[in-house]
């Protein structure tokens, strides 16, 4: 199954009732999957909107009624959705947003890239807000994380971004779908269903009174702190005895893993630290790796965006090198292995304990 289709199937199984999207490569198989499989389900909606902007605002309207809702796009389309994402955050509405990202800036190209890291993790829209960002590195994880994204969104009343890329979206791999949600999910609290037997409700972000808006921001911030405490995930791969640790996420981590296995076979003690939640970032876990390892290689398919978080976590406690390929160019495992080998020897790690 393609990564894009796997996201669609996982979303349907997670009880996604509405999908709103707009065509853009390399994620088209996802709306096509939803058009074929979601639209025919009872009470479910697939709608091809007139724009990414309209799609994200339809997501907002549907989410306000308390159902599970998703949109997907690729980098330039995600830029258009930023207005709506900011409103979703301000209105405390859950939603799942899938970014099968591609090369930029501008129209860029349709190849795999990781240059939307800043946009995803820093909040690409206006205002003080965060979104949970999950970074899968296989088709299986695309499916699993889509499901998890719906749960997290509902738990924290927050939009969750699944940040894939063109390669993951197009890749074909076997997938196991773990769970199927009940046919009808319970409607969330706070949802708008009409003021029957209760006072009318308002879903909004607008708060003209500054102290009230300040309190609303504090309330969001406290929720973000809770998410930072509860929901951080990462993977340590062969880091226990590693003299050099590669830090990479998503498809880059997958490429790095291949390189690390080969480097291990060549006798080099190399490991991988893979952040799975890009926000909240697994800083503490990375710090504990840095207590034993003093050499890091940050590898990304961009010119160095996540490296800011790596530096914030490790500071000057270790040497941090960077290798990146921007613009939709994808490094091969042997290319990364060459970089690893060079760093390993330059720093005299063969003889270091």
């Amino acid at each position: 199954m393609s990564g894009n289709a796997a996201v669609g199937e996982a979303a349907i199984r997670a009880g996604c009732a509405c999908y709103f999207g707009y065509p853009i490569t390399p994620q088209n198989e996802l709306p096509e999957y939803m058009a074929a499989h979601l639209s025919i389900r009872k009470g479910c909606t697939f709608l091809q909107a007139e724009s990414e902007i309209a799609a994200i605002n339809m997501v907002l309207g549907a989410s306000a009624t308390g159902v599970r809702v998703m949109t997907s796009s690729s980098s330039p389309g995600i830029s258009l959705k930023q207005e709506g994402i900011s409103y979703l955050c301000g209105s405390e509405l859950p939603a799942v947003i899938v970014n099968i990202s591609r090369g930029g800036p501008g129209l860029g190209n349709i190849a795999a890239a990781q240059s939307d890291y800043y946009q995803s993790t820093r909040g690409g829209g206006h205002g003080d807000y965060r979104t949970i960002v999950l970074a899968p590195s296989s088709v299986q994880e695309l499916a699993d994380f889509t499901s998890r994204a719906f749960d997290l969104a509902d738990k924290y009343y927050i939009p969750v971004i699944v940040l894939g890329d063109g390669m993951l979206g197009q890749m074909m791999e076997p997938v196991e779908f773990k769970k199927e949600a009940p046919e009808t999910l319970p409607i969330r609290n706070r949802s708008l269903r009409g003021a029957k037997g209760r006072p009318s409700k308002i879903v909004k972000s607008f708060t003209i009174n500054a102290p009230e808006l300040e309190e609303m921001n504090w309330s969001l911030f406290r929720r973000y702190q809770l998410i930072e405490k509860e929901e951080v995930t990462w993977e340590n791969f062969m880091t226990d005895d590693a003299k050099l640790v590669v830090v990479a996420f998503g498809i880059a981590a997958r490429i790095a893993k291949g390189a690390i296995k080969n480097a291990r076979a060549a006798g080099m003690k190399v490991g991988l630290f893979r952040p799975i939640t890009l926000w909240p970032y697994p800083s503490a876990a990375l710090q504990s790796v840095a207590r034993k390892t003093h050499y890091f290689l940050d590898f990304e398919l961009n010119m160095g965006q996540m490296i800011d978080d790596v530096r914030l976590a490790i500071g000057s406690k270790a040497e941090i090198s960077f290798y990146g390929r921007p613009g939709g160019a994808v490094a091969t495992p042997s290319e990364i292995q060459r970089v690893i080998t060079r760093l390993y020897h330059q720093n005299g790690l063969v003889s270091k304990k």
Binding site: A17, C18, F20, T45, L47, A49, E50, S51, I53, A54, A55, N57, M58, V59, L60, G61, A62, S63, A64, T65, V67, V69, E83, G84, Y87, S91, L192, R193, G194, A195, K196, G197, S200, K201, I202, V203, K204, S205, F206, I208
Partner: protein, 251 residues
Amino acid sequence: MKVVYQRPKSLKKVAFHYCAGCGHSIVHRLICEVIDEMGIQEKTIGVPPAGCSVIAYNYFDVDMVESAHGRGMAVATGVKRALPEAIVFSYQGDGDLAAIGTAETVHAANRGEKITAFFINNAVYGMTGGQMAPTTLPKMVTTTSPYGRNESLDGYPIPISDMLALTKGAVYIERTAVNSPAHIIQTKKAIRKAFQTQIDGKGFAMVEILAPCPTNWKMDTLPSWKWVDEVLAKEYPLRLIKDTTGGKNAD
């Protein structure tokens, strides 16, 4: 004693913040009267805009969800698709519906979205201080057309309702005003018809309402009400623009 006039049940007991002579408060009241009369308060979900009526949810006693400027019909679409049994309306001004939200407006109409749109046309951006709107009249002075709207540079008043009527999905579109008792009565009839169109599942319905904005027109209230008839309605004639519902007219 017979009660002949009272606050509609779905209009909250809150003083309006609108300027004297403004059309919003009248339209709010009319919508609430119709909601009461049709008995749909418990299943109505409204979508207020950005602008002077941004806090319309302080007045309408129905569930409401905010929309970003121009996105009202997209938000309303999301609500209606997720909850088809709800009666969904958007409430939007001219800049919102006919400039920044043109795409959302045209496509909601073209899809025949089963929502009801209330379009308040006062030919200016009110909340932001009276800037030129897409509906501003030729030569009309606003804060961003201080020498009058120059058609050769700024284009012409946009006939958005007539444009929407070209789409098959739009089945009922009427233009009314709230500057006289007769026009207010006609507006209420149109509001009812627009809701009924949604209830009958016929398609997209919209009422364009010419509303005075004395503050930004820099007029006293009475002259502003006259100006609606004598000037604004010349550009935007009050009429039934389209009705393919097969039902009876709002009259």
